[in-house]
Every structure is written in structure tokens, then in C-alpha cells.
Symmetry: none
Subunit: 406 residues, 2 copies
């Protein structure tokens, strides 16, 4: 089965927005044993129709993103209806649903919204829980087109909850069942992971091995039609990588931490300098994190470290704010001030300025304090790029909390 | 002049790597008055030749990324030579250069490297300072193809130092200068923006109007070859949207806030409950934010609001943590505790649980306290999706700080 993706959006071709849909959809399709053979980005407008016709000459399944909104440059719906030779039919119940969303947010609805209630004849409507434009599935004898909204926060849940289950059901007899194990690794580089596992994994038999390196982690995916073989391979990889695997599947580091803390009935606190609140923000992205997290400090200035966390002025003068000693004092201050079971502290030099030969940009100290034991510290040299630095530091801080909880 | 981009690489279509070339090249080309009309991603191998022939049927300038390496799946060089009807000629001086790079890194060179010294007849060689595969420019009467290496750290300097200067010189007399104004809007929906401006903007003349809705904001782009007309159009849009435009160009909300605070010599503090540190984290994504931001609190639990910000227990009991009164007390506590000039507080219900009929998920209160004036509060109903809720709330909180600074 040949799959192609059409991403629409002038903003993509102007370089204002990075295309993250391709990665998201490709990874999801891979889990079904499907590969994307071609992806094209076209501007809003007439080029969408051309790209659709071109893709229809080759593909069995076409995913189209964007252009479903209510404004004049949103023509994916019309172009698809035309390419499939279907009339657009007005659906009052869709408009009613949109009206209800506007009412709940106390916004006035306008006539332009009506465009979003038009459905190509015989099309399947995909509910949009997080926006107004519904998704659509349009099909003929040869090709299926799935139209998805452009905003990632609308596209992703719609794909997971609506489009993907529909496709799985539709192709139940054509898609070879695939088995997948995903191992998430922190603290080892991609090539080192490959050197450790690939030869032995390949020797076991036909399992596809995928590596995905992201800032602060490596994902190892093992995929194949033979469940036993995939599991056997995964068992081997788990043994080789036992100390650096922090979870399996799609769970994020912050979800692991909140899950472990809730299960243990423990609370955690953060004292952040260079991560600037990112550790707390990631924790609070997790539902029910309020059971595990109660207090956080973003002590960006030295005075804040002194007044809020009780770090001694002499410590700051002697060792500097970026030091193991200050990290330790911050973590212990956070533990005291919050009454939490585990407190983590981060202090470092995010750059681009502020580095010295002794303490370069990218240097960071972590400390983890627990009610039960001795405070421990960790020194790392991370990326000199500010946002990457912050993310990697937050990842290590969360991993320290995870290790303290297990 | 029509420009298309071909990105080659199976890893892009598997979703293992995000395509950042498109954004980089598109932004650079836009500065020359060139727009990318179409971008396609194809896997390594035969599909490259097909994509090239397809693009050559339309485009004047084709940029191809990837597939220039020494291994068997790197066929961009061969495919381009064939599509342009050129012989590949071996260049000893290129191989000597590659050999010198291997020698400097003390790696052994193998015969496969020889492929990288082949140049389509009459082609321009682009030096690769950070890798072995040179870039190439191949041309005939109608089309120019620029072949660039896949790794971003090789492609970007090669583009800036070699390919772009060559193109500028080549097209000195053909490139129409383009003018763009981008307005970033917070507090008005996409369709409302369109209704307010589009008719009058279109009546003024040939300016392209683009809308891009993201969580918490709308970007309005005005683009055209006539600078005066674009500026006249922008002036009209600025008048219509004066209260909701928070900046122009590519500046983010957090960059605006840090710029304004630094210019005014003022500092800001945050007291966050439901945003969980996201406001502070966004501020600290900006270089030099330490000049503007010194103290932040993530008071997720009621006790934290009491002990860290001095919120009165009676206030929490009477109005609940999610109330204008508690938001106000949080902001005033943060102002007191930090000595900052402006303090913002956010308290709300991020969900998925914790909502009631009176205080549903998505309800959020903001307060902004300043050294100079009276504290003001704001109530909003935002998305019930946790991460979207947090982002939108952080956007509004930052906008309140921005308004307090101007």
C-alpha cells in the first residue's frame, strides 16, 4: 500500500513554521507497517488540487494536512471534493457543534464558520475536540484521502483517536500485524547504543532496528511481524542497556516521574536556576501532577537563592552560583522549604554570555536531596545552545528524581 | 522565477529526523525576493531522479539536499547529471582535498570516497568546510540545480558562503525585491482578523495576505513587490488592529517582554500556579533575560501560596485558589518578595479533573501588580487541553507584563 503526505501551508514554504506533521504521522504509520513514500508541501490555494491529482495517480492512501479552516485561503476541502468528483453537502449538526464551542468560550460566531460544516458526499467526519474544523475522510475505489487540520494540537489527537482507528479497521485484512517495542534511553549516545546492540540484534533475525536521537535522549525501536522474535530481541537490548533505559513506549520522562511519585505517595520539589522553570513546567504538563508536585522556585538571581532557598552568601562568594556546593544548598533549601520527599536543584550557564575558561557556557551542576539520604551532586557539560541546554538539563534533573524514586 | 526544493532521505520519511532545511533555505531565499513554490521529500534511491525530472518541468531553480555522500544510496549526483544530460568527470583535486581531510582526522580513506570527486560536466563545485562531499551547481538553458549535503552543519555554511553568493551574482538583474510585513496578534481570532482587514486590504491593491493561527495567537502577513503598497496596507492593518498587535516580524512574546523590560531597566517576577513554571521558562529562553527576571515561584499547592507568597488562608478559604482575589494576592506577594517592578500571577484549572459547574476546567485568573499602580485582574476561559491551556495562559500572562511595561 503506497502512502503519500501532502502538507499545505504557505507558512511552511516561507520557512516560518517547521513541518512536524511528517515526523508524527510517519512514526505512527510505521507502527502499522506502512511507510511514507513521498511528501510534498504546497502553498495554500490552487496548488493543493494539483498535488492531490498527482498523488492520486500513485498513492492508495493520501494524508493531507492544513487548509480546513474557515478563511479564504483554506481550500483543501473544496479541492479534495473536486478531485474525487464529490459534491459538498452542508451538515447542520457540524455547524451546531461549532456554534456550541463558540458559545462555551463566549465568542461570537460569524458566517465564515459555515465553510467548516461542508462535507464531500459520502465522506467520513472526524471530530475535532480541540478546534472547530472537523477532519474528513474521502474515498473512491482506488484512493483514500484523510484530511487533517493544520494545528498540531488539533491534528495529533484527531489522528490518534479518530483517523488511525478508522484506518486500522478499514485495512484490518491488508495490514500485516506488526509488533513494536520502543526503549527510551537517557545517558548514552546513538552510535554507542548501536555498537552495543546492533550486531547481536541482527543476528537474532528479521527485526527492524530504528534509532532516533533527540536532544537529551535516544529512542531505540524494534519492529517486526514476529512477536516472539521482537520480544526476544527486546529482552537482549534491555539487558545490554539496563542502566540507561528510563522507560518503554511513548511515556515521557515527566510522566515516568509523576507516575513513580504518585505510586510511592511521595512529593517532589524543584529549585531551578538555569532551567528557569522548565523542570516544573514539564512536571505540570502531566495530569494529576498536583499529587506529586507542590512547590517550585525559579531562583534566577543570587539574591533569590539566598532569600528563598537559604543558600549562604559565603557559599555563593566562595564557589560561585554555578557550583556543586550551591546546587546542594539549593536542593536542601527546597527540601526544607517544601516539606517534599525529594528535591532537585539545577544551576548552570545557559549562555550565550557568562562563560569563563574555568566555567564555560554549557556547564551545569545538579543536586538531588531526599528526606532519607545524603544529598548527591552531578556535573555535566551540555549544549551551548540555550534552549537545547535547558531541555537537556531538565531531562537530566528529571532522571535524577526518577532514580531517587526507584 | 520559480523555486522548488527536493529533500532526499529515507530518515525524513520515517519520521526519525525533522526537516529543518526547508525553513532555513526558504527564509534565506525570501530575503532575495524568492519564494519556494513546492517542496518534496523522497527516499534515497531511484525516486530522486523522478522528483528531479518533475521539478525540472516547472522550476527555474531547484535546490536538492542530501544524497551526496559516498555510499550506495547516495545517488543525487548521478541522477542530476543524467537529468541534465551531462557526463560525470573525475576531479583529482577534489579527491586530494578529501584525502587531506581524512589525513588530518587520522582516518583511513577508502575507494568509495572517489564518488565524491565526480562532477557533472561544466558544474560549479561548492566547497564543504565541515564534511567531505562538495556541493554542486548544475545548469542548462532553463534550469539551475544546486546540490547541497544533507547534514545541517555542512549545508548551512555551504549555502551562506558558497551557494547564496553565487546565486545573487547570477540573478542580480532578475530578482524582484519583495517586501514583507508580519503582524503578530494576541486576543483576536483568525476569522475576526480577516473580517476586520481583508476587504479593505484587498481594495488597496496587489498585496498577498496570509493568516497563520497558532495556539494563543494569529500571525498576519502582508507580502508584495511594491514596498509602498505593502507599507500602506500594513499601516491600515495596524490601525484596525492596534490594540491586539503585540509585535512585528519574527520576535516572540517572551522576546518582546525581555526587550521592553531591559530597555526600561525594569525587572519582572512570576507567581505561577496552573502554568507550572512555563511563564518563567519562556522568559528564560531569551538571552540576557537574567537582566529582567530574577525571582519566580511555582506555587502549585495552596500551602505554597501561603508560605511563599503570603496569600492569606482566609482568602483561599473564602474564594478558592482559582479566584481573582487569590491571583491578586499572589501577584502582590511576588512583587513584595522579589523587589521587582512588575509581577504577574496565574491561577486556574488546567484539568482534566478539578473542574466544577461554577469553575470549569479552563477557567483561569491573572493578576498584574506594579510598583507604581493598582493591581488589576483578568478572567479567561481557555482550552481544556492541559498543554494548550498552559501555553495560552502563559501567552496572556506575558502579554499582561508587556502591557504593564509600555
Amino acid at each position: 500500500m503506497r502512502v503519500e503526505i501532502i502538507n499545505t501551508g504557505t507558512e511552511l514554504l516561507l520557512g516560518q513554521v517547521t513541518n512536524t506533521h511528517l515526523g508524527f504521522l510517519a512514526q505512527s504509520l510505521f507502527g502499522l507497517g506502512l511507510r511514507v513514500e513521498r511528501q510534498v508541501t504546497v502553498p495554500d490555494g490552487a496548488a493543493i488540487a494539483e498535488a492531490l491529482e498527482d498523488a492520486m495517480s500513485r498513492a492508495d492512501l493520501i494524508l493531507v494536512t492544513g487548509g480546513l479552516g474557515p478563511t479564504s485561503d483554506d481550500i483543501t476541502r473544496e479541492a479534495t471534493a473536486e478531485a474525487f468528483g464529490k459534491k459538498l453537502i452542508f451538515h447542520q449538526e457540524i455547524l451546531d457543534g461549532i456554534a456550541a464551542k463558540f458559545a462555551a468560550r463566549k465568542f461570537a460566531m460569524n458566517d465564515l464558520q459555515k465553510a467548516q460544516a461542508m462535507v464531500p458526499e459520502g465522506g467520513v467526519v472526524l471530530d475535532n475536540k480541540f478546534g472547530t474544523a472537523p477532519g474528513l475522510i474521502v474515498q473512491n475505489d482506488k484512493t483514500i484521502a484523510v484530511l487533517l487540520p493544520g494545528p498540531p494540537n488539533e491534528l495529533r489527537p484527531m489522528w490518534d483517536k479518530e483517523a488511525l482507528p478508522w484506518l486500522k479497521k478499514k485495512f484490518a485484512d491488508r495490514l500485516p500485524p506488526m509488533h513494536e517495542v520502543g526503549l527510551r534511553i537517557l545517558g548514552m549516545g546513538e552510535t554507542r547504543v548501536q555498537i552495543l546492540v546492533e550486531d547481536e540484534v541482527k543476528a537474532l533475525g528479521a527485526v527492524e532496528v530504528g534509532y532516533c536521537a533527540r536532544p537529551g535522549e535516544v529512542d531505540l525501536r524494534l519492529i517486526g511481524p514476529d512477536k516472539d522474535l521482537v520480544e526476544k530481541t527486546a529482552a537482549l537490548a534491555r539487558t545490554k542497556l539496563s542502566d540507561v533505559i528510563y522507560t518503554e513506549g511513548n511515556e515521557t520522562m515527566e510522566q515516568v516521574v509523576v507516575r513513580l511519585a504518585r505510586a510511592a505517595g511521595k512529593t517532589i520539589a524543584m529549585a531551578e536556576s538555569c532551567t528557569g522553570g522548565l523542570v516544573a513546567s514539564r512536571i505540570t504538563n502531566v495530569s494529576h501532577s498536583s499529587e506529586a508536585f507542590r512547590y517550585g522556585w525559579v531562583t534566577y538571581a543570587n539574591e533569590a537563592k539566598i532569600t528563598e532557598l537559604g543558600v549562604a552568601t559565603t557559599l555563593l562568594e566562595k564557589h560561585g552560583a554555578v557550583s556543586a556546593e550551591v546546587a546542594q544548598a539549593m536542593a536542601e533549601g527546597a527540601l526544607r522549604g517544601s516539606g517534599a520527599d525529594v528535591a532537585v536543584a539545577v544551576t548552570g550557564i545557559a549562555g550565550p554570555t557568562g562563560g569563563t575558561p574555568e566555567k564555560p557556557v554549557g556547564l551545569v551542576y545538579f543536586a538531588i536531596a531526599t528526606r532519607a539520604g545524603k544529598t548527591s551532586t552531578l556535573e555535566k557539560n551540555l549544549s551551548p545552545v540555550r534552549e537545547t541546554f535547558k531541555y537537556m538539563a531538565s531531562q537530566i534533573a528529571l532522571d535524577l528524581v526518577r532514580r531517587a524514586l526507584i
